[in-house]
């Protein structure tokens, strides 16, 4: 069944979109991530303009992370102080990201910037994840116990001024690095249409020493709050959020996530990380190909405005 997406301005098959929502939802449920970094590229590959894809996926991620956040809230696995401090940085970052997005679009360089950001980020994260999980798998094969990273002495940036006590996570640290992390996640989220969970969780664990009990729930809360503000900001400034597209994706997404979560519980952690790492790397390579290979058509048209 073909349906016309009002803002993306293209006809697409509803079932294809729904299936994409299901598939990405399955993966996001399996790995506990928002899935924006997979959904945005998929939409671009089926012909949605990158700008509309990024803006609409923020809405999709807002829905999926909200349902995740509710589940963690019930288990009392959220550090509200930490989430709100991250959010303060996140909102400034989101506003900055949306502003850069608008500016690059006017310069005709937005698609390039989205492509480059994806290639850079996904290759780095993919290589790190594949390397780390492969080492873990080899270690367990050789019968050695897994090396648990014990939080060592406090990093210097945790001792900066503006100290705050994050009770639920049992850490006492400066607000400055927390705000900075929030800013980075919000900024990247607005430009790339990603929730940033796959970046935020390692940052919270390794940089801020947040315990695993609260890390995912807190990350979900931040993701959902920054994605909600990104949706509103993108809609208010660039008018690029396609509500129909987002709705189809999110319905598929939340259903797929339930099945993914079941599947994820049956696979060993390091194998799960290896799979996710390979997936991240594959999407990064696909983007790299798009940038490096000669495009089919060197010319493209962009509508600037209608005459009255």
């Amino acid at each position: 069944m073909q349906i016309f997406l009002p803002i993306a301005d293209i006809p697409v098959n509803v079932f294809l979109l729904f299936a994409m929502g299901l598939a990405v939802g399955f993966i996001s449920g399996m790995f506990g991530i928002g899935g924006g970094f997979l959904m945005t590229p998929l939409l671009i590959f089926i012909g949605v303009q990158p700008a509309v894809a990024v803006a609409s996926v923020t809405t999709h991620v807002a829905a999926s992370s909200f349902s995740g956040a509710i589940a963690y809230w019930r288990r009392n696995a959220i550090d509200v102080t930490l989430a709100l401090t991250l959010l303060a940085g996140g909102i400034v970052g989101t506003a900055g990201g949306v502003a850069l997005f608008t500016w690059l679009r006017a310069l005709d360089q937005l698609d390039l910037m989205i492509g480059l950001s994806y290639v850079t980020l996904l290759s780095i994260v993919g290589v790190l994840m594949v390397g780390e999980s492969a080492r873990a798998i080899i270690r367990s094969r050789m019968g050695k116990p897994a090396v648990l990273r014990r939080p060592g002495s406090h990093a210097w940036f945790l001792g900066l001024p503006l100290k705050l006590r994050f009770k639920r996570s049992k850490i006492y640290a400066s607000a400055i690095p927390v705000l900075a992390i929030g800013f980075i996640i919000g900024f990247l989220g607005a430009i790339m249409g990603i929730g940033g969970g796959f970046l935020l969780v390692p940052m919270l664990i390794y940089l801020l020493r947040v315990p695993t009990a609260t890390v995912i729930g807190t990350s979900m809360v931040l993701t959902f709050l920054t994605m909600v503000s990104a949706t509103v900001l993108h809609a208010a400034t660039n008018h690029l959020v396609d509500a129909v597209l987002a709705l189809i994706l999110m319905v598929g997404g939340v259903i797929g996530a339930q099945f993914g979560a079941h599947a994820g519980a049956r696979i060993r952690g390091e194998w799960l990380r290896l799979l996710l790492g390979l997936l991240v790397l594959a999407v990064g390579l696909r983007f790299a190909g798009q940038l490096v290979l000669r495009p089919e058509d060197l010319y493209s048209i962009r509508l600037i405005g209608g005459a009255p």
Binding site: I7, A62, A69, I70, L116, T231, V241, R294, L303, G306
Partner: protein, 271 residues
């Protein structure tokens, strides 16, 4: 299936034809007074509604050439050129170039108010209908349609411009620009019809149809008509809301996301 559709179309055609012939005397638009011919044309529909499942359509133009019986008949055949022009928009054509190994949009040209839709339907190839001079003067055909560009702060035509060629090519690929040398069919020596195809991505707004009658390479009569394309239904409501009330639209969309997330967490609650 297709044949049934054609039959239905032909029926519509017949009604339109009758209406045209009956109404000809009232709303026919006369050509140059000196000519011996009058040209009358009408469209099957003056308002095309596009709904969310629109995948393209067709609009039919009918016309008749009325000859003054006192004058002697012409030797050569008549030729018709119908030019359909859609609402004007400002477009930017960009060209990619390889920079440090990756393909980047480097150069761009802004076209000031080119038609968002342009169809040239003719009864024969344009070069057989009118001379090059005449075609240029009458702006006949895509090649002779002016597409002015913004050059610094001036607006002008650039001849042999690859950006112009790319614009026309991309618009042709989308079905928005077309030139059909056999787009006009003569049903009798003086009665003709032309099908205007409207692709799925057809822009909304008002369209003008300009019909010119040629004989022996000269323009002898012309008339014009117009139609309107409107989007209706939910989809247009969304477009208007997003454009005119961005902030409110964003808030409603965000609420929709939260509601979906909440429903999911309730529906799939396991604890």
């Amino acid at each position: 299936m297709n044949r049934a559709k054609n039959r239905a179309k032909n029926r519509v055609t017949d009604y339109a034809l009758t209406a045209l012939l009956v109404g000809a005397g009232f709303f026919g638009n006369a050509g140059p007074a000196a000519a011996a011919e009058r040209l009358i044309a009408s469209l099957t529909n003056h308002r095309v509604m596009i709904t969310s499942n629109y995948t393209g359509g067709e609009l039919v133009l009918f016309g008749s050439i009325e000859r003054e019986t006192a004058r002697p008949a012409r030797d050569g055949p008549y030729d018709i050129v119908a030019t359909v022009i859609g609402p004007r928009e400002t477009l930017r054509t960009r060209r990619k170039q390889r920079v440090l190994g990756i393909w980047v949009n480097t150069e761009a040209r802004t076209f000031v108010d080119p038609p968002s839709y342009l169809a040239v339907l003719a009864s024969r190839p344009l070069d057989a209908i009118a001379s090059a001079d005449n075609r240029r003067r009458l702006r006949l055909g895509i090649a002779d349609t002016p597409l002015p560009e913004l050059i610094h702060n001036d607006i002008g035509e650039v001849s042999n411009d690859p950006f112009r060629a790319a614009l026309v090519r991309l618009m042709r690929e989308r079905g928005l620009y077309s030139e059909e040398p056999n787009g006009v069919t003569f049903l009798t020596p003086t009665l003709f019809r032309a099908a205007i195809s409207l692709p799925a991505l057809v822009p909304i707004g008002s369209y003008t149809v300009d019909v010119k009658l040629f004989a022996d390479g000269n323009l002898i009569a012309h008339t014009d008509s117009a139609f309107e394309i409107v989007k209706v239904g939910f989809e247009q409501f969304v477009v208007n809301a997003a454009r005119d009330h961005g902030l409110l639209y964003g808030l409603v969309t965000a609420l929709m996301a939260l509601f979906t997330g909440w429903i999911a967490s309730v529906a799939f609650r396991r604890d």
